[in-house]
């Protein structure tokens, strides 16, 4: 059922599946990107360790700028650095960057067409105990609305590393969304990853529903697919890691094959990946869609797993959504 050339982690469904924070993959990737391209510089707003820019700072202190708690400056200084030929990566928590500094990103990065890479960590309710102020749930919506902005949501640390390595070659501004918690390592070093190309992970012969997911919830989608299969419902699973530019061809293809779609993301349903999928399908191949995500609420403190359950993003919620969409 799993697509062999995706080379997914063979332990995908085992209890001892390795778990690594997605942000760690960014940290590894940034050092590699800096090794490969002397134009890469890093800026951080007083969160160098937790956004995983530390290894880069230690290896390339002269290419690192500590901005302090000043996210507006973080974005605009990066724009200036890009104006003189640098490729800046800027990091903070997603609620602050691109949350607090959205207008600066709009005007000085997107409008100015500067290849700044905005890295927002700690997205989603899975941030856990820090509570709602620190759980970004609107960042995909505000970033995909910006012309020229590429938006990437890696599913695990491998994808985060590969995305980070690929971003300097893109001449455009980009947003990379990261999460805090240790989450399942779904893919492997050998798995294909190309920005703008969704990965079909599970492809049964006659799928009845297509699960289109992004971020660490791709794992929940794969688990839900197993549960559904046991009940005789076959579903495909698409890892839709690039929200913009979206791989419309793959999205339309899985929707055509299955005739029904469930989108899955750790983000507000309004304006997120699911909305973007609905825009594509409404124009190309309208099908019934159910949306897994946060429904017009803020997060709160708790353990990541219990919060994902509470807000309806757990495996059982996905199973229920697939059954519901089948009845429509």
């Amino acid at each position: 059922m799993l697509v062999p050339h995706q080379k997914l982690n063979p332990k995908l469904f085992d209890a001892d599946l390795e778990r690594v924070p997605v942000r760690n993959g960014f940290g590894d990737g940034l050092v590699l990107a800096a090794d490969a391209d002397p134009r890469v510089v890093g800026l951080c707003a007083d969160l160098t360790e937790s956004t995983k820019m530390l290894a880069f700072r230690e290896k390339y202190p002269k290419r690192f700028v500590e901005i302090g708690v000043a996210e507006q400056n973080l974005a605009t200084v990066a724009s200036g650095l890009a104006a003189v030929g640098k490729i800046p990566f800027i990091t903070s928590y997603a609620t602050f960057s691109p949350g607090r500094n959205w207008e600066q990103i709009r005007t000085t990065i997107a409008y100015n067409n500067r290849p700044v890479k905005i890295v927002g960590s700690h997205a989603g309710v899975s941030v856990g105990p820090d509570g709602g102020t620190h759980q970004a749930l609107e960042d995909i919506a505000i970033m995909r609305a910006l012309p020229r902005m590429v938006v990437v949501v890696p599913a695990d640390a491998h994808e985060a590393r590969k995305a980070t390595l690929a971003l300097p070659a893109l001449d455009s501004p980009a947003y990379l969304r990261l999460t805090r918690e240790k989450t399942p390592v779904i893919t492997t070093k050998e798995s294909p990853f190309v920005i703008g190309k969704a990965n079909l992970l599970r492809s049964p012969k006659n799928p009845q529903v297509a699960l289109i997911a992004c971020g660490p919830l791709v794992h929940n989608a794969l688990l839900a697919a197993e549960v559904l299969a046991k009940e005789g419902i076959e579903v495909s699973v698409l890892n839709n890691h690039t929200i913009k530019p979206m791989d419309e061809e793959s999205v339309v293809r899985v929707a055509k094959e299955a005739g029904r779609v469930v989108t899955i993301e750790e983000h507000q349903v309004a304006g997120g990946m699911g909305s973007a999928v609905a825009e594509v399908l409404a124009q190309n191949h309208p099908v019934p869609i159910e949306f897994i995500g946060v429904h017009d609420q803020f997060g709160q403190s708790g353990k990541p797993e219990e919060l994902l359950e509470h807000y309806g993003m757990g495996v059982q919620a996905i199973v229920a959504a697939a059954k519901k969409v089948l009845l429509r």
Binding site: G68, T76, V77, A83
Partner: protein, 283 residues
């Protein structure tokens, strides 16, 4: 260029021509800011026709000095100075604010690639200049970065984030010019949100501060030369200017910050600039 009386006269005449052209452009466009551009005409003239290392034939020459206009709404003076310097034909000034025009209502790099930045929203220019200065220093490039900002945008928190970073990084290749004309849209700056003591504030953040008469070419050019010579700090030039400078009924009047001309006012403004405020008796 040595600064003798002849050179000063040349600069004064250039500034007059820039004022004339920018007013004509705004009148033709039917909207656009006017007092600020007139107040900054002498400083833009000094920059583009004396101080800057630049080549209008090669706008992306890597060794050029960088000019960042933070308060994009005074772009008519930037556009007129660039046109006179030869970045684009002066006829483009006649299409200011038109659909598809090179000269957008606020500066936009997509339409005029010779611009260093697009601008309009206040409080973002200095931090972009800080980024440029940091990047140039990383590469040991000698270029100077000039940021031109309004006094009103000293009310933006983001401005002070950039002021703080420039002070911390001792960005000697950065020069900020604040157009201290004391007006903003809603009234006088000291009534809307007081800025003084502005020089002390910059000094407290680690900057070297110069205060000048923004209409005296000797003072302007000396300040730019001093700024280039200071190697341990960023320099803030607080330029005291008269908004609407060159048109008697506009000078010092805050409603002219963004008000547009009646037909009679337009005729009178252009007449005054043709005659240099009565200094020339023929038209």
């Amino acid at each position: 260029m040595a600064l003798d009386d002849t050179n000063i006269k040349v600069l004064e005449e250039k500034a007059r021509a820039i004022r004339y052209d920018l007013i004509e452009a705004v009148i033709r466009a039917g909207s656009g800011h006017i007092a600020g551009p007139l107040g900054m005409a002498d400083i833009f003239t000094a920059l583009y026709f004396h101080t800057l290392k630049h080549d209008p034939m090669q706008p992306s020459w890597p060794e050029r000095d960088r000019v960042v206009l933070s308060n994009g709404h005074i772009c008519p003076v930037l556009y007129a100075a660039m046109a006179h310097a030869g970045y684009f034909p002066k006829e483009e000034l006649h299409r200011l604010r038109e659909f598809g025009a090179m000269l957008q209502g606020h500066p936009h790099r997509d339409f005029l690639p010779a611009l260093e930045t697009s601008s309009g929203p206040l409080g973002s220019g200095l931090s972009q200049g800080v980024g440029m200065a940091l990047g140039l220093r990383m590469d040991d490039m000698p270029n100077q970065v000039y940021v031109l900002a309004s006094d009103g945008e000293q009310q933006c928190g983001s401005t002070w984030e950039a002021v703080m970073l420039a002070g911390k990084e001792k960005l000697a290749n950065l020069t900020l010019v604040i157009d201290r004309n004391n007006i903003q849209i809603d009234g006088m700056t000291e009534e809307i949100m007081p800025l003084e003591p502005l020089p002390d504030k910059y000094r407290a953040f680690g900057w070297h501060v110069l205060e000048i008469n923004g209409h005296d070419f000797r003072e302007i050019i000396n300040a730019f030369e001093t700024a280039r010579a200071i190697f341990e700090k960023p320099v803030c030039i607080i330029a005291h200017t008269i908004p609407g400078r060159g048109v008697s009924f506009m000078e010092f009047k805050y409603p002219w910050h963004s008000k547009s001309f009646s037909k009679d006012e337009a005729t009178e403004a252009l007449r005054q600039l043709r005659t240099m405020g009565g200094k020339i008796d023929h038209e």
